[in-house]
Symmetry: C2
Subunit: 332 residues, 2 copies
């Protein structure tokens, strides 16, 4: 057994509304041993994502986290001890290591991190699951056409900012919706968005009408709730809507309704649900296409990095209140 | 000017909820004269359709009917006097003649009724706009696959029964939702539906689960409201939903919300809005394909025919309360 302790964060209480730091507790376990065919990994980066709030509520398709359970999450780790021929000490791997400093995994649960990805934390964000989510939505579901007015909510997040930048590369005019002037400024000035609406200080419906007077051709929704309703009230004929995230309802136990079906009929819209798991077979294609864009500076990104696993609950609380700016990462 | 009077039905009051007979009034106008290039038509059949309730509310895309206006609607007529080379006395034509016994139309507003359509009233139902609606939904939007479990609401209506029968011909297993045992029986015994749920006497969610234990692959919705919500809670992975009608909200001024977007995401569903106007260019293809099915007895249909234009308000009230059975037609 290795010396030292394995810091873990566990769920203490299932919160009713927005989570607070007291809903989590820090636990010290022993560093686990890798058995036959297994690999011991030291966590380098942990990804925090809004879908975890759904897991806590027991409402996410990836499963439920109960009080007492360790929080789950995707990690980038370094192999420390390998009992499998495919991995050796020093390799960088991605897997669902959870909110802990050390983890043991079977070889088939580990994915080598593409060596072109630098910094490696991008494998959790723009070049990881959020990036693939955006890519799948834009390339496979949105039926993008040059000149489309594309609107994306939670626009400064990893998914949202990748959605907007891929759409921009594809020739769309991109309008973001975000909750802070600083985020809007970055999207306009750094990420190439044509416009960005601060839904907290502006009248979203009026601002959208001004920004897209001919209607919204494509909407990529990370939020649901009222925001979805407002944007769907302004769809152009033949609009496509990609439903991806439900930020507006992760923090609530009351499932809110959605937009009236008349909005879809009137616009002859096509509305599709996106779950990234369905596109894992496109991961290599995604990396081969998008890494060069990042390397050429066509894609800007923001990471919101917090040091120390013990600070993960505070970072998650901040994420769920929209106060993060960019992909939320814990550097362990 | 012709002898006799032209009976017209006009809107008297805009109803708040379900319409009543007193919301309409009968009016006697003179029979109009056909001018240069115009055609005088005697109405044979008038189609009554739920979308008319939306016109009365001012919420239908085809326009608004105000108190004092004559009620609009599609008619099959016989040409009495023609001042245009394309038409002669005795021709059968379809046009938007409205709720009246006589009408004058420009030649380019008239469509000759296909001589294969017998009885001619079918040109208002299974072989008219409702039939084309169903055809467009099944052939162009629903992406039908053999063995799909297809559910259709308002299933005994012209659109619904055509949807189910086309889907059956395409190899789907068809489940209807209707509001009377008599309608369900007809759908099962005459129209070839595998199953039919009476939503007024059965628990729709439970009955649907029993009838489609692996989920609903295709839902064609003529209703909206709670029914849409319940069916969308039971979509199979990769389901397709065609939104066509809004029976649940035509009678109300309060626009109800729709299903939570999570239902679409979880099922990776594709939801599309259908407006038949977009498919008018498919009308000949539709007739050439579907008339032989009708002639071969592959398609059953019901017409709910009321004699006398003065009885149109009562028939419309009955239609909007779901008490009709089959395509509602006024024989003038």
């Amino acid at each position: 057994m290795m010396d030292g302790k394995n810091l873990q964060i566990r769920l203490k209480n299932r919160p009713d509304g927005p989570p607070s730091i007291g809903d989590f507790e820090v636990f010290e376990a022993d560093i686990p041993d890798a058995g036959e065919g297994e690999v011991l990994c030291r966590t380098l980066y942990l990804s925090l994502d809004p879908y975890m709030r759904g897991q806590i509520s027991g409402r996410h398709i990836s499963g439920t986290i109960l009080p007492g359970d360790m929080m789950r999450g995707e990690t980038i780790s370094e192999v420390v001890t390998s009992h499998h021929a495919d991995f050796k000490a020093g390799d960088r791997v991605a897997h669902h290591g959870g909110w802990q400093g050390w983890s043991v995994a079977k070889a088939d649960e580990l994915v080598p991190v593409d060596r072109r990805i630098m910094p490696p934390s991008l494998a959790l964000g723009m070049l990881g699951m959020p990036g693939l989510t955006a890519y799948a939505g834009m390339i496979y579901l949105a039926e993008l056409k040059k000149g489309d007015n594309l609107v994306v909510s939670a626009a400064s997040g990893a998914v949202g900012s990748m959605v907007g930048q891929i759409a921009g590369i594809m020739g769309c005019r991109v309008v973001g919706i975000a909750g802070a002037d600083e985020k809007c400024r970055w999207l306009r000035e750094e990420a190439g968005f044509a416009d960005c609406i601060n839904y907290k200080t502006q009248d979203l419906a009026a601002a959208l009408k001004e920004s897209c007077p001919d209607g919204v051709d494509v909407y990529f929704d990370n939020v649901g709730g009222d925001m979805l309703d407002i944007v769907m009230g302004q769809l152009a004929l033949g609009a496509r809507v990609v439903l991806c995230g439900l930020m507006a309802q992760y923090n609530t136990d009351v499932i809110p309704p959605g937009p009236n079906p008349a909005t879809i009929i009137k616009a002859r819209a096509t509305v599709r649900g996106l779950v990234v798991y369905d596109f894992f077979d496109k991961k290599q294609e995604f990396l081969d296409r998008v890494i060069p864009w990042v390397d050429q500076g066509l894609i800007s990104y923001r990471e919101d990095v917090t040091g120390g696993l013990e600070n993960a609950p505070a970072a998650f609380v901040r994420l769920m209140s929209g106060k993060n700016f960019g992909k939320t990462i814990i550097r362990v």
